[in-house]
């Protein structure tokens, strides 16, 4: 049986409180405590060895829009980025609001995916926010969470029932926080730059009011709500305060939100258009503070591929979203360089924290665990080139950026899914 030794790396395994130079042994797709028989060796001297990274916010676009991305190409992006497990958002066509679509995604993933794909199901039918999706059946079909991501349930009564109902199945509820009346047809953060550029504002309060709603709902139902891609300072403050009270609330941040601010829209480049929008430098600093003090538990990409022709249009009509799986790790490692997080804290937000939230049997290098491992070269200097991307799309604002640190080997179930040449 194929076996592997990863030698001399700095092993960071937050689940086991490990941070030391040691070897990692893999046999028969599992982590083992000791070497066994004939082995292939990966020399990880000077490298960091972590549990396989997890991204709980990915749009694979299949079924329905495999011109933008497919399960095959999206998972190849993940592997290149160091991610061994990803959670697929349900806003496909048809939406993942039925067991047939979940079965299709799992089947396709089994055939073509090079990393683990965990589907998320819809909260409501067709993500319309009107009627509950068959949440229990979706759970049986294998979803790890429910969310209407890309959309937000506006009806508070429906949201309350969805959370109560999902609790019965031990399913966390994830929410894209956006009040439609307030955000209206906004295309960027409402503030100085929207005033200058004459673009319609999507104000922070449209996110914050739903974050506050979710905190109240989590409290009322005593069940877990996860706020996706926080972008504003007050959202961070609301979650921080709620966590102190013991509310079952968690939050994620995306690399683009903690790296960039709304000033970058000044040339109307649609690769800086995403939902929620880039906000101010003060918001960015608040996200960093939230990451540092643990208010923000998880880092996720919101990998959202769109075709070039769809993005090369007037700013108002371009779709929201950017690809992010391949740049996520480097942009996150910058947080360590900036002393926002320790390396171990960062790895928690990319492994144990997402695994714990969604009850994934992942995110650890314990003996017996699935052999999902990421080997990271923290000093690698490289330039991101979308032309070289594994994605079918190239809508990244980080094209041409010089980055530090990257995954060099991604191992999924004991097999090398990707290796830097």
């Amino acid at each position: 049986m194929n076996s592997l030794i990863i030698k001399h790396g700095r092993v960071i395994d937050p689940a086991n409180r490990v941070d030391e130079i040691r070897d990692v042994f893999i046999a028969a797709g599992k982590i083992t405590g000791t070497p066994s028989g004939h082995t292939e060796v990966i020399d990880a001297t000077g490298k960091i060895v972590t549990p396989g990274l997890i991204d709980i916010h990915v749009h694979l676009r299949e079924p329905g829009r495999s011109d933008k991305e497919s399960i095959e190409t999206g998972t190849r992006c993940a592997a290149r980025g160091g991610f061994t497990s990803i959670v697929a958002m349900p806003n496909t066509t048809p939406a993942a609001d039925n067991t047939g679509t979940i079965a299709f995604i799992k089947q396709r993933a089994a055939e073509v995916a090079c990393v683990n794909v965990f589907p998320a199901g819809a909260i409501t039918k067709e993500l319309k926010g009107e009627e509950l999706a068959p949440i229990g059946s979706l759970k049986r079909a294998g979803v790890v969470a429910i969310t209407d991501d890309g959309r937000c349930v506006q009806n508070n009564e429906l949201m309350r029932r969805a959370v109560e109902y999902a609790k019965m199945f031990d399913l966390p509820v994830m929410d894209h926080c956006q009040d439609y009346n307030i955000a209206a047809d906004g295309v960027m953060h409402e503030g100085y730059w929207s005033a200058v550029l004459g673009l319609r504002g999507w104000p922070s309060v449209a996110e914050e009011i739903i974050v506050a709603r979710n905190i109240l709902m989590a409290e009322v139902t005593d069940w877990h709500i996860h706020c996706q891609h926080l972008s504003s300072a007050r959202s961070v403050g609301l979650v921080r305060e709620a966590k102190k009270r013991g509310v079952k609330i968690s939050a994620e941040a995306c690399p683009h939100h903690f790296t960039l601010s709304d000033e970058r829209l000044k040339d109307y480049d649609t690769n800086f258009k995403m939902n929620p929008p880039l906000r101010t430098e003060a918001d960015r600093q608040a996200l960093l503070a939230g990451l540092a003090d643990g208010t923000i538990d998880i880092i996720a990409s919101d990998h959202a591929p769109h075709c070039t022709y769809e993005k090369q249009v007037e700013f108002d009509v371009a779709p929201f979203g950017i690809i992010g799986l391949e740049t996520e790790l480097a942009l996150s490692l910058a947080l360590v360089q900036q002393k926002v997080l320790s390396l171990s804290q960062l790895i928690e937000k990319l492994t144990t924290n997402p695994a714990k939230l969604l009850r994934l049997p992942k995110g650890t290098l314990s003996a017996g665990a699935d052999a999902d491992v990421t080997v990271i070269d923290p000093t690698a200097e490289w330039t991101y080139d979308v032309e070289q991307s594994a994605s079918k799309s190239n809508n990244s604002p980080f094209h041409g950026c010089h980055l530090n640190g990257r995954a060099v080997t991604t191992i999924v179930g004991g097999k090398i899914a990707w290796q830097l040449e």
């Binding site: 200058v196 004459g198 673009l199």
Partner: protein, 311 residues
């Protein structure tokens, strides 16, 4: 400044005071042309100018068309609405088609902010912004400045009040950049929902008190309340707007005696301005239209590489 260096005129924000003054000086020469019995000059003979208007407009389109015609250019008018463009051919493809037909200048009016900038990056042809969403309308600001200079002899130190829907106004933004660059004191006024405080960061005074806004004004520039750009939540009714912020006879009487009234048009008589005030001798609304022609001739001429010989 001796020569105009830009291929495009996309906005006022990126222009220096020297560039603005150069444009205004050039426009003076073209204003003289309009007073002759033969109003046509051969400056752009053989050039192709496309009026690409993807948002309804008569005044600005006509002004640009006439300006190009008086410079002897060949002019093509294309009108479309943005929604049909979104459903069918993209703006990029439309523009590349025009370039394939060897258009020299594309004048674009579009409901989406930034559309001219997108074309400017894409095309070898000159792109002139004739109004992009709520962003900029540079030739309007230039003709406003030209008119102020003609009447007042200066811009620096003047108190200019812009009254109305600032939030959704490209005229306001272009005027703010131009007037502040040339040293005027700009006051913005109107309902708090349409004149947010954030505009103070653009170098203006913001007030929601109409009397305060008008007291020391040398120039009052009224903006139309634009129903089509607004959500219903921004103010209660046109009637209430007129009561609170309309330039009626009483408010007009309290202005400084030499205060001048401007309006980019189209005027909603009885809404933002009293009908008699619009027609009074201190109103320069029609002179703005005349000056618009001279300014647009200058812009077309300079963006096509022409140079005005200073006398």
């Amino acid at each position: 400044m001796k020569r105009w260096q830009r291929k495009d005129l996309l906005g006022i924000q990126e222009l220096s005071a020297a560039e603005i003054n150069f444009l205004l000086t050039s426009a003076q020469a073209f204003k003289q042309v309009g007073k002759r019995s033969v109003k046509k000059v051969p400056s752009l003979r053989g050039k192709t100018v496309v009026n690409l208007f993807i948002e309804p407009s008569t005044r600005t389109r006509t002004s640009f068309e006439l300006a190009a015609t008086r410079l002897s250019a060949d002019v093509i008018n294309i009108t479309a609405n943005a929604s049909s463009l979104v459903k069918g051919e993209t703006l990029k493809d439309t523009a590349l088609n025009l370039q394939a037909l060897h258009a020299d200048v594309i004048i674009i009016r579009h409901s989406a902010a930034g559309a001219p900038h997108f074309l400017g990056r894409l095309l070898k042809a000159s792109v002139i912004n004739a109004g992009d969403g709520a962003h900029e309308h540079p030739t309007q600001a230039l003709l406003d400045a030209f008119t102020i200079l003609e009447k007042k002899g200066r811009i620096a130190g003047l108190n200019v009040t812009i009254l109305g829907d600032i939030l959704f106004s490209r005229v306001a933004r272009s005027n703010i950049w131009l007037l502040t660059k040339l040293g005027a004191n700009v006051t913005l006024a109107g309902p708090s929902t349409l004149v947010p405080r954030v505009f103070e960061q653009l170098g203006c005074r913001v007030t929601h008190n109409i009397d305060d806004a008008l007291r020391d004004a040398d120039v009052v520039n009224l903006l139309r309340i634009q129903h089509e750009r607004q959500r219903q939540t921004l103010f209660p009714s046109i009637g209430e707007y007129t009561t609170m912020f309309g330039l009626n006879k009483e408010r007009f009487a309290r202005l400084k005696p030499d205060a001048m009234i401007m309006h980019p048009g189209p005027v909603n008589r009885g809404v933002e301005i009293d009908s008699e005030v619009a027609d009074c001798d201190r109103s320069v609304i029609l002179e703005q239209v005349t000056n618009g022609l001279a300014v647009r001739m200058a812009v077309l001429f300079l963006c096509c590489g022409g140079q005005v010989v200073e006398s």
